[in-house]
Symmetry: C2
Subunit: 386 residues, 2 copies
């Protein structure tokens, strides 16, 4: 029996076949460390890294190739930004829909580095009222840290409005695109984002171990490096170089992973985000429509496919999400994720704390048949539970 | 024409074929995020991570599986340690043979966090006198940060003596095993190391994007997390969990890379470090003996194979190392690395600053024929240059 994978908000699976082929090619034919030697294979490794920056620059409409910084994952990218940007006394505004990748570093900085934190409550559907951001801005507000879309409800945040507010007030915007990069069209320059954090292994369809930052030229200048070490450049100086991307990248990068990501971005480019998005939202619509009339099921968040990504959180009356996930896996080989999804405040916001939700997140390689099968399986489990 | 790869101190190449096979298996058959769901593939991903910890625990004789922390690379591992351990007023002792992965974060902490730094000079062969460490210890000395072997000269440091000194003085030892893990036998518990930083992609023969820390139980308790974010555990709390390994790992790990590393450690186990080491040191001996009589060549560091790893740095009178490397690559397809190797102080120590050295670093898959060919090529280039 084939497995059905609906946990694409955690990591996409499967990936395009070409991703592993690109990794294999690097593994077998290149292998060297980029920027650490002048010989052919090292130069070829460096070229892979540069080309991937170039593709991501195009995808996000970033200022320049070197403004793309590679990190282990999006969490690291967010940590680099917050730690390198915030000082004691600075005020940060964020929302109740954030992932722990934003909340935990901010709570740490609040407790140990004396930053000031305001968390704006979103409504029961996870919707942010941008006016609440505007009202929260104070003299010492330095940063707005905002998820582009909730990993629990799939709700897309009003980033155009927030970008306008931050501009009017001279505040910096950090956008966490963990759930949107490779799914929504993101125009870094047009939206006037200052710091964009992305992951490579979700909608970008690359391997785990990849992610990074897009920095505006201004931020690139003022941000203090978080990680220090060898860069293969300016090796004579005992401090991190001050130019991009070396200022924010230290040690050997995940070249094989980046080679995979590079190929994944080619795939996205060839298919087109629009086609990918339409397919995933079609499945989302099919799923919502298939369960919305079932009295015991509650869908948390938006019930349509406007302003959302392909993630749907549900609860079922009197049945623990963990039990539902277990049954779906065990009896139907359907892989979904129960619980808090590393976003406790989001569950407090939508009223599903502490048990969380059962989350279905659809990917480009899922089919209508799979969604249909899952709806039927879910109904059967609920009936049996009665 | 086949290429000859002698830059194994930067990253090992090739890797055992089974490494990419393990990555491919994860890519095709598992794919999920570990510890983020209860379904089969997520559990299988979690099992890969746990098994790799278990293998590394055995390899290093670490206290427990969860004391192995995965990071992007050894530089990150060192940054986690220094930043999470040192406070203003703390004194750190290190050596002049360190890589920029140690020097740069320490210089940063010295400048911006008011730590106090003493750098012990090693001799012209890169040899550390442990008594110099002893003499440098002060009341506020909290840490000794020491490379296990120089990435420039290959000189192995007297870590038994340093471990004794640190124990007598109640100081913590951070050992950078970038050049030794997978080559030398390292007994974490017996040597009484507190923090061991390792890379996965050099002598451990795993893919780039892997590395980490081994922490003693004491350090694990006191070290403050450097990266904060989702762990798939204790998701209801807005701070990093205080248990291992989650305390020091945030965000999705490089599961595919760790799957490769796991298989690489199996390879090391099956071949045996002793056999691997003997082969690499045989090549080192052959290389040194083949060039030691050439008047224009100077070997920097030890001339025998005691207390060293398989890395040899040379200079040639009146010829820039970069030119030699270019010629070797361009005319003979031999890949070696010229320059400072991210260790400026080491070159000041051995007298090769600012041009650096030409570095040959041999790996398990190199052959006697390759070394012979390289010696002849080197002699020919020198003759032509005359």
């Amino acid at each position: 029996m084939n497995v059905i994978y609906f946990d694409n908000a955690a990591t996409s699976f499967p990936k395009p076949e070409r991703v592993i082929n690109a990794m294999q090619n690097y593994f077998k034919n290149i292998g060297a460390s980029p920027g650490r030697g002048g010989y052919k294979n090292s130069i070829n490794a460096g070229r892979i890294i540069f080309e991937t920056r170039s593709k991501l620059k195009k995808l996000f409409n970033a200022p320049k190739e070197e403004n793309i910084i590679f990190t282990l994952n999006v969490t690291h990218a967010i940590n680099y930004s917050l730690n390198g940007f915030l000082n004691a006394g600075d005020h940060v505004i964020t929302t109740s829909m954030e992932h722990n990748s934003v909340i935990r570093p901010l709570r740490f900085l609040e407790k140990y580095r004396n930053i000031e934190l305001t968390i704006i409550n979103c409504d029961k559907n996870g919707i942010l009222n941008p006016d609440d951001i505007r009202k929260a801005i104070k003299k010492n507000t330095k940063l707005i840290a905002l998820t582009h879309a909730s990993n629990v409800t799939g709700t897309v945040m009003p980033i155009e409005e927030v970008a306008k507010i931050k501009k009017e007030n001279g505040v910096v915007l950090l956008l966490d695109t963990a759930q949107t990069a490779g799914f929504l069209d993101i125009d870094f320059k047009k939206l006037d984002i200052d710091i964009l954090a992305f992951t490579g292994h979700k909608s970008l369809l690359g391997p785990q171990g990849t992610g990074g930052l897009v920095l505006s030229d201004n931020i690139a200048k003022t941000l203090i490096p978080f990680i220090h070490g060898g860069t293969g450049s300016k090796s004579e100086i005992e401090f991190q170089p001050d130019f991009l991307p070396d200022k924010f990248e230290a040690g050997t990068p995940n070249t094989i992973g980046i080679a995979g990501l590079s190929s994944a971005v080619d795939f996205l480019e060839e298919e087109g985000l629009n086609k990918i998005r339409n397919h995933e939202l079609e499945l989302t619509k099919q799923f919502i429509e298939g369960i919305i009339e079932i009295p015991k099921i509650k869908i948390h968040g938006l019930k349509n496919i406007e302003n959302r990504v392909s993630t749907v959180s549900i609860t079922v009356d009197n049945i623990d999400p963990a039990f539902l996930a277990y049954k779906l896996d065990n009896q139907y080989n359907i892989m979904v994720r129960p619980g808090l999804h590393c976003a406790p405040l989001a569950h407090k916001t939508i009223g599903t704390f502490p048990y969380g939700t059962l989350r279905f997140s659809f990917g480009y390689f899922n089919t209508k048949e799979e969604v249909d099968f899952a709806i039927k399986a879910l109904i059967k489990i609920i009936e049996e539970g009665e």
